[in-house]
């Protein structure tokens, strides 16, 4: 099917909205839009970061998920306590695939689940005593943990526990940073506020730790990678490019990151932001407090990688700029071979994305490098500034959907009939059963990395493997043939 025109896309949105009652229709209409790349500001066409409509199936997570799952969780050498009932931590344990090196349970704790396992009596009498006790137990059992973060689940805020007081007391007693995070799930409209809260707790409890310690030897080429969660090894395949360019990566957040890397971040010369949505708060703070400039970059697909490497190099001297060119040239044969191999198999294929807060715009370039076209995209928890950045990346008259409901996404896909849908685990089986090739774009579908030149080769292979899989031809039941 050829691309839809502006009118057709508009009509499609109207048609999909038709089933809702009036009030719901009015609300949802604001979140669905036809892209117009000539606009400068997204708020003219789309509303975002609003409370989801009660009664619809939203795909969003909670604030605790944004803090424990996204920003804090991957910091590997501190223990993150899921403070509250056992489920929040247990059902999300180790599902995110943020890789790290280390001996789990000895000096790293990424895939483990620590919880205070609240029972009725803790809700009635308060859980501060229990928190005090488990912090001591953790210190006894895991002496190599560099610190502890307390990630609040819903009940903590509801019963009014004072986790800050307990944290301060225990930090003094154990001489380790203990970081209370007020990321109760009910705060905000999505995981986005959890990112913000996590950033604020890093700002208050971690960043100033070494303000008076000048022993760290700095170089003019120190940078920090912020907002790369090392899904399937993403940060590693990004980091090598920066290092080959002659930069020194002092800190890597949060994927495969450590507490001391976070503490050293204020000593760098430039913060490099990959996931803008989840870490822009801390980048702004570092700029204001320590004068560290920040910039966004994109390591998906050779076009964007080259663009980003050059933009990063432009912030440094000529040696680095020459090195950037050398790095791009070094990988040229490699990525051209990837494009030569897969582009003919993928040319013209159409993709619909629905991911979190960054990838719906960041991956577009990688698809375009393979000759594919993104015809619809949307975010779970983006804000207007994310859509501002998206308008230019998407083609004219393509579909934008914010906090899309299960029903809407299905209806759009049925009508647009893309060759590939990229979204999360909750959407995967729905679309596969509809006979549409699907990739999970949160966890890379148990593959990865997708960042950097090495990642691009894997990305291209995965897309080909999914779209051109012979199974899609056998979707019809034998008696229907």
């Amino acid at each position: 099917m050829s691309a839809l025109t502006r009118e057709e896309t508009q009509a499609l949105i109207q048609e999909v909205l038709e089933v809702y009652p009036d009030k719901a229709k009015k609300d949802r209409a604001k979140h669905l839009a036809v892209n117009d790349p000539t606009l400068e500001q997204s708020k003219k066409c789309i509303t975002s970061n609003r409370k989801s409509l009660p009664g619809v199936m939203t795909i969003r997570g909670c604030s605790y998920a944004g803090s424990k799952g996204v920003v804090w969780g991957p910091i590997k050498d501190i223990v993150h306590i899921s403070h509250g009932p056992v489920g929040c931590g247990q059902y999300s344990r180790a599902g995110r695939r943020n890789y790290y090196v280390g001996m789990t349970g000895v000096n790293t704790f990424g895939t483990m689940n620590f919880t205070s396992d609240f029972q009725e009596k803790d809700i009635v009498f308060g859980g501060d005593k229990k928190l005090d006790k488990i912090i001591s137990e953790i210190d006894l059992l895991f002496p190599l943990a560099k610190g502890i973060s307390v990630q609040s689940e819903c009940p903590i805020g509801l019963i009014g526990d004072d986790i800050e007081a307990v944290s301060k007391k225990k930090a003094k007693e154990l001489k380790k940073p203990i970081i209370p995070v007020r990321c109760e799930g009910f705060r905000g409209v999505s995981q986005s506020l959890g990112h913000h809260i996590a950033n604020d707790s890093i700002r208050d409890w971690v960043i100033p730790n070494r303000d008076h310690d000048q022993s760290f030897v700095t170089t003019p080429y120190d940078v920090a990678i912020i907002g790369d969660y090392n899904i399937g090894g993403d940060a590693w395949s990004s980091r090598i490019l920066l290092e080959e360019m002659g930069l020194r990566v002092v800190a890597q957040w949060a994927g495969d990151g450590t507490l001391s890397e976070m503490e050293l971040t204020p000593k760098v010369k430039l913060s490099l932001i990959h996931c803008y949505r989840s870490v822009n708060y801390i980048a702004r703070h570092l700029e204001e407090q320590y004068g560290i400039p920040w910039m966004e970059y994109n390591f998906f697909g050779p076009t964007k990688i080259a663009e980003s490497l050059r933009a990063i190099a432009a912030r440094f001297d000529e040696t680095i700029q020459a090195n950037a060119e050398r790095v791009i040239a070094k990988y040229q044969a490699e990525y051209e071979a990837v494009v030569a191999k897969y582009r003919p198999r993928l040319e013209g294929k159409r993709v619909m994305l629905y991911v979190g807060g960054l990838r719906p715009r960041h991956i577009i370039g990688a698809y375009e490098d393979l000759g594919m076209e993104v015809v619809g995209t949307g975010y779970e928890f983006a804000h207007n500034d994310d859509y501002d950045r998206t308008l230019k990346d998407m083609g004219d008259s393509t579909l934008l959907y914010d906090d899309v409901t299960g029903y809407e996404l299905e209806a759009f896909v049925k009508r647009i009939k893309p060759d590939l849908v990229g979204s999360g685990i909750k959407e995967k089986y729905v679309f596969q059963k509809m006979g549409i090739p699907f990739r999970q774009m949160h966890s890379w579908d148990y593959s990865g990395p997708y960042h950097g030149y090495d990642g691009f080769a894997i990305f291209a292979r995965d897309m080909d493997m999914t779209i051109n899989n012979p199974c899609w031809k056998n979707m019809k039941a034998p008696w229907q043939k």
Binding site: E40, Q41, K43, N49, H196, Y281, R284, E287, E288, M295, H383, N384, D385
Partner: protein, 71 residues
């Protein structure tokens, strides 16, 4: 009276960021922007108007300042 962080954008303009609301806008005009003072009425590209008592000498950006809504 929100706290607003003012920072320079890559193109050299000024950005107006309200952390509480996660709102970032470009500043279209500043009433007084001289070597000696900065402030007065600030208009954003979305049309909203804000006010801050003129500061002298001008602050070094990025910095956080308290603004009032002017309309």
């Amino acid at each position: 009276m929100p706290n607003v962080m003012i920072r320079k954008s890559e193109s050299g303009g000024l950005l107006f960021y309200v952390a509480k609301k996660d709102m970032e806008e470009t500043i279209a005009s500043v009433e007084t922007d001289t070597a000696a003072t900065w402030g007065g009425e600030v208009v954003l590209t979305d049309g909203s108007r804000w006010y801050i008592d003129p500061i002298s000498p001008p602050p070094v950006f990025p910095t956080t300042l308290r603004f009032k809504r002017a309309d």
